[in-house]
Amino acid sequence: MIRPFDFDGDRFDRSRRIDWLDVNAISQTKVLMVGAGALGNEAGKNLALSGFRNITVVDMDTVAVSNLSRCLFFRESDAADERFKAELVADGINGLAGGRSARAVTAPIEEAASDLFRGSDVVLGCLDNVLARTHVNGQSYRAGKLYVDGGMEGLTGRVMVVRPPDGACLQCGMNKSHAKVASLRFSCTGVETVFHEPRLAAEITTTSVLAAIMVREIAKHTSGRDDLMLSNMLYYDGKQNRMEELEISRNPDCLVHHN
């Protein structure tokens, strides 16, 4: 039912004025968001406000005080209480969306069932290390799901869009420097393998820009407008105000395309 001139009774009235944006399709799309750190908080906020209503948030970490400068869904008490990031982001999304739109998975993504990928429509990578990215890239590709990955350090960042079965995947664009970075994250004590979490420079405005681009790419895809999307990679430098699309070609030797 509508009333004349009642344009403010619909939460998505202003979104519906963007003629190509399919708000109904957005509300039904199943999003798998892997990572609930700084990018995950910002992306979660953008997903909720954009109208996504079926979101699974995966992250095994708990909140640290150093997260609080970049994460709108975390509070100081969450660090003291060792709350799971995924639960807080899912709660935050549900608070903004006004319903049960998000659920949390607090297991490592490597141990999460591959059903999680098959059961989703799109995958959002808000990760903080090369190995997890490689895993999510491979799983998304094998499940045939669009994968949008973000990465950042300081005021620089990049967004990568992977569209199976076409084009390049995240791994196609990797080289020896990525393998070196991945190897630096792990050391073997003889008893166990220890993961060294990198403490990279970060600040919220760059996070906001990248998460906005990531969610917008998913909204375009969901609205059937792949023609408006990045071809594969966007490089961003907030210090110099540079934003540029780069092209990664498919690597015929990339293992992801041979499984």
Partner: protein
């Protein structure tokens, strides 16, 4: 036949600085990345090299990647954080 060395420039996307590099056709993009990253003390991060809009594949030899004398490549960070 002895491969002839040729020179290119590599630009640091973050600082705008450039460095000249003497290379041979069979050097790889991985070697360019490693040399430039070491020169600018960036050994702890992942990088790609671009020529124009194209990101060049690490394992490719310069000749196969279409890199020629006097080309300007750019070392672009591929940041890991999230």
């Amino acid at each position: 036949m002895v491969p002839l060395p040729f020179r290119i420039k590599v630009k640091n996307a973050e600082s705008g600085a450039t460095v000249e590099m003497e290379l041979e056709n069979d050097n790889t993009i991985d070697e360019v990345i490693e040399s430039a990253a070491t020169f600018w003390n960036k050994e702890m991060g992942a990088y790609v090299v671009r020529k124009g809009k194209k990101v060049l594949r690490g394992t490719m030899a310069l000749a196969d990647a279409g890199v020629r004398e006097d080309d300007m490549l750019e070392l672009v960070p591929d940041p890991e954080g999230g």
